[in-house]
Subunit: 219 residues, 2 copies
């Protein structure tokens, strides 16, 4: 089922590129390693990169968004806009004007709250580790009570959500098609390199499958 449009998720430009498709939104949120969290401090915008994890229709944010914002979130919650963007390619038109980028982005508006329930917090932290490397949470030493207390996790319901996608070739004006300029798309992909073991890794511990398999299905 699609997300319901709201005034602030209704586009003023390129409406054909916008949808409210839940499956696409989830896929983009899941593939992105970082999100950008916007909030308002003293009437002015602040945007910080952050790790996130989606569990069903909830987005969890790792709470290192600065002490002031977190304090605000402890009371009435924190109004946030969370945006993720995956760049799929550079769109090179004959005309400078029609240059673009192929991308998939998701914008989430809502009010984030600090997760206080210990079970939810523990599950959210597992999800945050697994969002970076699927399967990783089971391959680590789980957080102890002190570490859980030292970590803040924010919960943001996925209700006001929009997706924007641009794909395909450049859209040049007909008059430019006979011009001398090359046009097309340069695809971009994020690829993992060879894993770099920690300098203090004990001998005999091999690279686990969840590391070597990263990126083969989702992020």
């Amino acid at each position: 089922m699609d997300y319901a449009p709201s005034p602030r998720t209704t586009p003023t430009r390129n409406p054909a590129r916008v949808s409210y498709d839940r499956t696409t939104a989830h896929a983009v949120l899941d593939e992105a390693v970082v999100c950008h969290v916007g909030f308002v401090v003293d009437g002015r915008p602040v945007v910080l990169p952050q790790l996130h994890a989606r569990v069903d229709d909830t987005l969890y944010l790792h709470g290192s968004t600065g002490a002031r914002a977190l304090l605000a979130a402890r009371d009435d919650g924190l109004d946030v806009c969370v945006t993720v963007t995956l760049v799929d390619g550079l769109v090179l038109a004959r005309s400078a004007f029609h240059h673009s980028v192929n991308y998939r982005s998701v914008v989430v508006h809502g009010t984030a709250h600090v997760v206080t329930d210990p079970a939810e917090k523990s599950a959210a932290l597992d999800a945050l580790v697994d969002a970076v490397v699927p399967g990783r949470a089971a391959g680590t030493r789980a957080p102890d009570r002190r570490e859980l207390a030292a970590t803040t996790v924010l919960r943001l319901p996925l209700t006001e959500v929009s997706v924007k996608v641009r794909s395909g070739p450049p859209s040049d004006d007909a008059a430019d098609l006979d011009g001398p300029h090359w046009a097309g798309v340069l695809p971009l992909t994020t690829v993992p390199g060879a894993p770099v073991p920690a300098p203090d890794l004990a001998p005999g511990i091999g690279v686990p499958d969840h590391v070597t398999g990263w990126g083969r299905s989702g992020s």
Copy 2:
């Protein structure tokens, strides 16, 4: 010369990771294909992905940030926070708690104004095309008067700027070093694929060097 710290570019967490180094800030801004622009609408945050180009100590933003924001910028300017983040690797510690990401990010605070001078606007649009693919602006049909009028460019001075960098291996607690878990870094890189010519590309137009050479020196 470094940028001068301000209250809102002074970190509340991990101060050792933050700097005001101009050269690093410029390199991160130049390498990133998209930025995330935050602004305030009706007291609430909005964050949208955007193309940007740096010219010396000015950041130009391609003005498709929505009509309301642009209208606001036409008068007193628009308070924005522009953030770019490059993800260099996934930091996999023995403990879930010490998981992290290697990244380079830049946060710019300031007031953006619409560029009205035609010469500055034309140069900024060239810079925006060259920011996506260096050398590309000279390999395209330049904007005509109608296209220039249809495009909005915002100018943001680079004065309130901070850089945050995390690099290197995971930082596990001493007590975890003898544990059974693999630890290390999975490097991530953005790589170009083979250029995809536009379906309507005239025969005999080869892929230019500025396309095949993308990413070999900066973005």
